[in-house]
Amino acid sequence: MQSKFNLPKITRWVLLAVWGLFAIFPVYWMIITAFKKQRDIFQGPFLFPFLDFTPATQSWERVFGQDRDDILKGLGNSLLFSSVSALIAVVLGAFAAYGLARYTYKYGPYRNNDLSFLIVSQRIMPPIVAVIALFTMFRTVGLIDSPFGMILAYTWFNLPLTVFILTDFMKRIPLDIEHAAAIDGYKKFAQIWKVVLPLAMPGLAAAYLLSFFFSWNDFILALMLTFQKSSTLPIVITNMSAQMEPRWWLISAVGILAIIPPMLAVIVLDRFMERQVLHGGTR
């Protein structure tokens, strides 16, 4: 009776279960594949739930043995680039968003809305359009295959998104609360640091999370701008499989590893996003 959408309860659960099966099954498949031998993979197909094989640790031996260094390098690079670039994008994005939300800009004919549009419009540009030029530019200044170059590229890639998300959040923080801090005797920087940023926490968390996802999942930038030293996990995996007969068991195992960091990020940041920080401050 309380629901806004009045389907019978059973129907709702059935629909959710159908989608749940569809959504989860590939993940499930990946997990069991990671415990198969090459032979078992090519033994199929079997009947649901496809558990009729002898579990093997072949893939994990490779992951922790022969391929360990490559995988660690990829994992380390991905983690480094994603987390650092997301942090920079969120910090720069927060400041820009604060500016766009609180001040009036006038650069020739360009006002606040035009500026936000300019910044956000970069997101419209398919990376392929820029990537050739970027490749050339990076090569010229020696940023190809360097951590700094990748962090720069990902920051560029994510900044429009963080500005976009955070502007809205900054606008929602009541001006009066900032004014109250001024009245209480604090200067602008203290106002932002002690009051504005804590209140933008759900936005900061969401922006960080999305930035992290996008960098973590990126393939095309890494493909173009790295060779060896700075390869990210997706590139490492691609290299592992660049053979006639892909080692699916191994890729699945690495895939499991690849899901863990974003999952952890979600679990950690989810509570910040849920928090209703603004609740109670104003009437």
Binding site: K187, G281, R283
Partner: protein
């Protein structure tokens, strides 16, 4: 603890004049109430004093020093916001502590604690100190916001409708305590409200704000007894003062085929005002009375307000319930007490002179 002088303050939002040429001067320690309807410019005036809003023109002096260019954080003003503007991520205690810990204040920890305790007791929020604003009711939040403004010494205290959302009991008890507290602190206070009862009860002096200008600046008694113009007269008093237009040079008032002889009035008189308590109401035809139809009745405890349609006018009458019971549509007779009327000229300005 400063005297304050506002000189020709003007604030424009685009083409919109929120405050136009507002002048006001008050002594150190005075309790000033800005009274006006929503949108009259009360909050804006406070925000100009705090420099939260930028002046379009005019000057502000604290203790005869021009402070136009001093930023908010250095003005040493305390303020309770109409929107409360609490720090939602902190407990009540931290909210109250924040102004005491600001750079340059150097208040010893013991004194901080004592101040917080004093204010928390005054406002009956001592038991809430460890809660966050989201766990408080609206009235409790408003008291915390008031507490944050009162907890520290300030040149000027600005209170923007600070008790509007409290329940009746607290509103009544806090009014007096608040004034007493500010008097002890010798704090210059600006207080806004749309409620004339609150204003007359608490103010040393009331500034009636209409359209961004001070229409009258005087003690509560003077504002009530000698309102400067019709608009001031209708803001101060509930139900509103009845305003009756006069024909030029009229010697009598004609309503519903009956007429009332007017007392001698100056020739420039354009309107007369009669407070609702100064009209008598009768159930039966009565000499020297005009006829009307009851529009609605509102009993309230010992008293009742009766609105009566008489000619073009809807007149408010306030009387004791024991006067009689009236029902909608009933015909009644009204008789004003001419000795208590207010007289205004055609432009609505009060006419000086002893008409009562």
């Amino acid at each position: 603890m400063s005297s304050v002088k506002l000189e020709a303050l003007t604030k424009k939002y685009g083409d919109n004049l929120a405050i136009s040429n507002l002048n006001l001067e008050c002594q150190q320690g005075e309790f000033i109430v800005l009274l006006g309807r929503p949108g009259a410019g009360k909050s804006t005036t406070l925000k100009l004093i705090a420099n939260i809003e930028e002046l379009s023109s005019g000057n502000i002096y604290f203790n005869d020093q021009l402070i136009n260019n001093i930023p908010t954080e250095n003005r040493n003003v305390a303020m309770a916001f109409e929107s409360y503007a609490l720090y939602p991520h902190w407990t009540v205690r931290k909210n109250l502590e924040f102004p005491l810990k600001a750079p340059g204040r150097n208040i010893p920890a013991a004194e901080q604690e004592a101040r917080i305790r004093r204010v928390a007791e005054l406002l009956e929020i001592a038991h809430l100190l460890d809660r966050k604003p989201s766990q408080l009711s609206g009235g409790q939040r408003q008291r915390v916001s008031l507490g944050r403004a009162l907890v520290r010494p300030a040149s000027v205290t600005l209170l923007d409708e600070p008790i509007a959302h409290l329940d009746a009991r607290l509103r009544h008890s806090l009014r007096g305590e608040l004034k007493q507290y500010q008097r002890e602190q010798n704090a210059t206070t600006f207080y806004t409200t749309p409620d004339y009862v609150e204003a007359t009860a608490i103010a040393d002096k009331i500034a009636v704000l209409i359209d961004g200008q001070v229409r009258q600046f005087a003690t509560p008694e003077v504002v009530y007894d000698e309102p400067a113009d019709i608009e001031v007269a209708t803001i101060v008093g509930d139900p509103k003062m009845n305003i009756l237009p006069l024909a030029p040079g009229a010697t009598r008032l004609e309503i519903n085929e009956a007429w009332l002889q007017l007392p001698p009035l100056p020739p420039e008189a354009g309107y007369i005002g009669i407070r609702p308590v100064n009209i008598q109401i009768f159930e039966n035809a009565h000499p020297y009375a005009i006829r009307g139809t009851v529009y609605v009745t509102e009993p309230m405890g010992y008293e009742q307000v009766i609105r009566v349609e008489a000619g073009e006018q809807l007149l408010n009458i306030k009387t004791l319930l024991t006067t009689g019971t009236f029902s909608i549509g009933q015909t009644v007779w009204l008789q004003p007490d001419w000795t208590t009327i207010h007289v205004f000229d055609r432009s609505g300005q009060r006419l000086k002179g002893g008409f009562h």
